[in-house]
């Protein structure tokens, strides 16, 4: 789900090699080069920015905290990582990636033009991954002008299939991210007390996640009368006893995301939103029931609509998204509306979410799950 973009990822940024061993990346890279060669391309450029970096990180484990980064993937041989950092930052960057060669991404067009020329690809077929979504058009126009004979190929979805199915190390990383989210929210009832502001309460919860090694935390919430309207970034609303507080809580740790949706009542006990919350949880249960190998993402959304019942309420809930892939990006393939017919595979990971508003109140339920051979596993 879209959240307010942070100006910088300022949590713990390091590579836990026990969790995500270098061999994982060697395996991935071999699989990617195989797809590349089958495509008939001579090389790929894989671009990512601070908001969408899943493709790039899948290959390199590097994460651009600001601006952008790019991986050069030849049909044969090792990749090269370009990062928007200074020369003095290269030693720190090297601790995050298995890629040996890191180059400074100065001006993007000049860097790309030099790379293509140096590699003798001026008339080659070069695939572009992540460019449509992230590459600024002004920079791309300069690249295209500088390299008029390159046969550029759009390959935006080329890694979707590989990335959608997570291997054991990725699932471990997502479980760990989910555990951080769950542990942070354990103190929610204590933090959400009368008289404190939403900002003060969530400072505690976000801190609890960051103290456990979260590299990023994204929160949307709605407190009191806000819950009847919409989720929003944290503000300074003062909580009162009995207020409903809706919480969307997403944690990134070791590059992998997990998210939770929960509804709380300030002061504990039952609240005005109990009925809605039961309906939101029923929608999650229905989605979890529909999330099977071979099912379509659209089937999961349909299950949510049916469980919610009220068509207008379901339509509002759908604006937040019922289900989508989650992993290296907080929102990734498959997405309802864009990839409706894609069949879900065992090993796919999904964020499931039901955000309901009605009668001046609201409720949210949400889990991160893995589709297994015999049902789903809850990761968060």
């Amino acid at each position: 789900m879209r959240t307010l973009h942070s100006i910088l990822k300022h949590g713990g940024l390091f590579w836990d090699r026990d969790l995500l061993p270098p061999e994982t990346y060697a395996r991935r890279y071999a699989g990617i080069q195989e797809i590349l060669r089958k495509s008939g391309d001579d090389a790929w450029l894989v671009f990512g920015d601070v908001a969408r970096y899943g493709n790039l990180t899948y290959i390199t484990n590097f994460l651009p905290r600001v601006r952008s980064a790019m991986a050069y993937v030849p049909a044969e041989g090792a990749p090269v990582l370009y990062a928007s950092i200074g020369l003095r930052d290269i030693p720190a960057a090297k601790t995050l990636t298995w890629v040996d060669e890191i180059r400074v991404f100065g001006r993007v067009p000049a860097s790309v033009a030099k790379l293509i020329t140096d590699e003798g690809l001026e008339k080659a077929r070069v695939g572009l991954v992540g460019f449509e979504e992230s590459m600024p058009v002004a920079e791309w126009d300069a690249v295209a002008d500088a390299l008029p004979d390159v046969r550029w190929q759009g390959r935006s979805g080329a890694l979707d299939g590989l990335r959608a199915v997570k291997d054991a190390s990725e699932i471990s990383a997502m479980r760990a991210a989910g555990e951080v989210a769950r542990a942070a929210l354990e103190s929610a009832n204590e933090a959400l007390e009368p008289g404190v502001t939403l900002r003060q309460a969530f400072a505690r919860l976000e801190g609890a996640a960051r103290r456990r090694g979260a590299e990023d935390v994204r929160i949307l919430a709605a407190g009191g009368s806000q819950s009847g309207v919409a989720l929003r970034p944290i503000d300074d609303r003062v909580l009162e006893a009995g207020d409903t507080v809706m919480v969307h809580f997403a944690v990134e740790r070791q590059r992998y995301w997990a998210e939770l949706g929960r509804t709380f009542t300030v002061g504990g006990g039952g609240g005005a939103a109990d009925g809605l919350n039961a309906r939101a949880e029923a929608a999650i249960a229905a989605m979890e029931g529909a999330a099977k190998e071979g099912a379509r993402i659209a089937d999961i959304a349909a299950a949510a609509r049916e469980a919610i019942g009220d068509a207008a309420m379901a339509a509002r809930a759908e604006a937040y998204g019922f289900a989508h892939g989650i992993g290296l990006d907080a929102e990734e393939y498959p997405l309802v509306g864009r990839h409706d017919d894609a069949a879900l595979a065992a090993g796919a990971t999904l964020a499931l979410r039901a955000v309901l508003h009605g009668d001046g109140t609201g409720a949210i339920a949400g889990n991160t799950v893995r589709i297994g051979d015999s049902g789903i596993e809850t990761l968060a």
Binding site: R2, T3, L4, H5, S6, I7, L8, K9, H10, G11, G12, L13, F14, D16, D49, V50, A51, R65, V66, R67, G86, L87, R88, D89, P91, A92, T95, F131, E132, E133, S134, M135, P136, V137, A138, E139, W140, S156, R199, Q200, F202, A203, R204, E206, G207, R210, R211, G213, V229, A230, L231, R232, P233, I234, D236, R316, A319, Y320, G337, R338
Partner: protein, 373 residues
């Protein structure tokens, strides 16, 4: 703030008239960035969640088209003008084009430098005549701060001071870097910080500032922090150095060099002076001490930068930077420096340029800090 916003919109409209634009499309991808001005915050006082656009005619109030749709109510409450609509992200290009057809020609567009290729194809494809490149028409009007903006930056500077106080209070041997950063971040959020361009490094000999890691703090570590909280969209920055133990004579001596460099930089920061003069003054002090080669890449980049709602004039302060300083500009001046004997050390304050020179908004004393001191 309402009068400020009207004034800013009027300034952009004046610039439109000068350039002969009938209408202006201001695109913003909502990827907030320390080096860029946020045009939606500047003209609407709204921090967007998703990609959005402001449509502006030469007269009258702007129109805001935002995404995602569920964020409409927040925008309607926050934005001072009436025409605010929300659409799904996939529908944004079409909605901009549809509404732009009712705007007077010629149309210009800003934001190509951040607009993704795919979105640009959809947007430009919807026009028979592509909009002109509006380039920096908005950014150029955002050089100086009003009283209302200054209040926010001053408050943010106070939050940064509190963040550093937290560092001094909680840093201890054995703590992981990210745990220390979490404590600082929480303390600042509780005071109203919405965001933080926060960097921190620790070690016996830092090469540069970097992201926090899982490294555990050790006795004698030099902790350098760049603390940059955001209050209601406006940033302030504090750079300081803290030693987890007693500083050596050498560390004290070299930190004095940074202090002298900062005094020189502040003296150069007067209205009418080029911003490059700040960098030249800082570099002269450090160069005269024998570290001239460490004033350049790869060791050093800038001696400060404009600061407000993301990057603003005078942008990066280097010896080749061109903007002239004006009364009301806000910036950070930081003679942070790598010194081979001690490693990287940091010192920087947020200031506002006034007629008599810079006034510091930072309250943390300018000195080297260490445990128990």
């Amino acid at each position: 703030m309402k009068a400020d916003l009207q004034h800013r919109v009027a300034r952009v409209q004046d610039a439109m008239a000068e350039r002969g634009y009938g209408g202006l499309i201001i695109y913003y991808g909502a990827q907030h960035n320390m080096l860029r001005t946020d045009p939606i915050l500047l003209l609407a006082d709204f921090r967007a969640i998703g990609p959005c656009a402001l449509l502006l005619r030469r007269t009258g109030a702007p129109s805001l088209i935002l995404s995602p749709p569920w964020d409409l109510e927040r925008a309607e409450k926050k934005v001072a003008f009436e025409d605010v609509v929300a659409v799904a992200e996939d529908d944004l290009a079409g909605e901009i084009a549809r509404r732009a057809k009712d705007m007077p020609e010629p149309l210009a567009l800003t934001g190509r430098e951040i607009m993704p290729m795919g979105f640009a194809r959809d947007l430009y494809g919807a026009f028979e005549q592509p909009p002109l490149d509006g380039d920096d028409i908005v950014r150029a009007t955002a050089a100086t701060r009003t009283e209302g903006e200054l209040d926010r930056i001053t408050y943010a500077a106070g939050i940064a001071d509190a963040g550093f106080e937290t560092l001094r209070r909680v840093a201890e041997v054995g703590m992981r870097e990210y745990e220390l950063a979490a404590e600082m971040n929480s303390a600042m959020e509780a005071l109203g910080s919405e965001d933080n361009f926060g960097l921190m490094s620790a070690g016996a000999h830092n090469v540069a500032i970097r992201a926090v890691t899982d490294r555990r703090l050790e006795e004698g570590d030099v902790i350098v922090g760049e603390i940059t909280p955001c209050y209601r969209g406006y940033f302030a920055q504090l750079c300081r150095t803290y030693i987890l133990g007693e500083p050596s004579d050498l560390q004290r001596e070299k930190y004095d060099l940074l202090l002298r460099a900062q005094v020189a930089g502040l003296e150069a920061a007067k209205p009418g002076n080029p911003s490059s003069g700040i960098a030249a003054a800082v570099n002269k002090v450090i160069g005269d001490a024998g570290y001239g080669e460490y004033c350049r890449q790869p060791y050093m980049r800038t001696r400060g930068h404009g600061l407000g709602m993301g990057g603003v004039v005078p942008y990066d302060v280097t010896e080749s930077s061109s903007p002239t300083l004006e009364t009301g500009m806000t910036m950070v001046i930081h003679p942070n420096q790598y010194i081979p004997e001690t490693g990287y050390m940091m010192l920087g304050d947020t200031v506002v340029i006034e007629a008599g020179g810079p006034r510091s908004l930072t309250k943390t004393p300018r000195r080297l800090f260490w445990r128990g001191n």
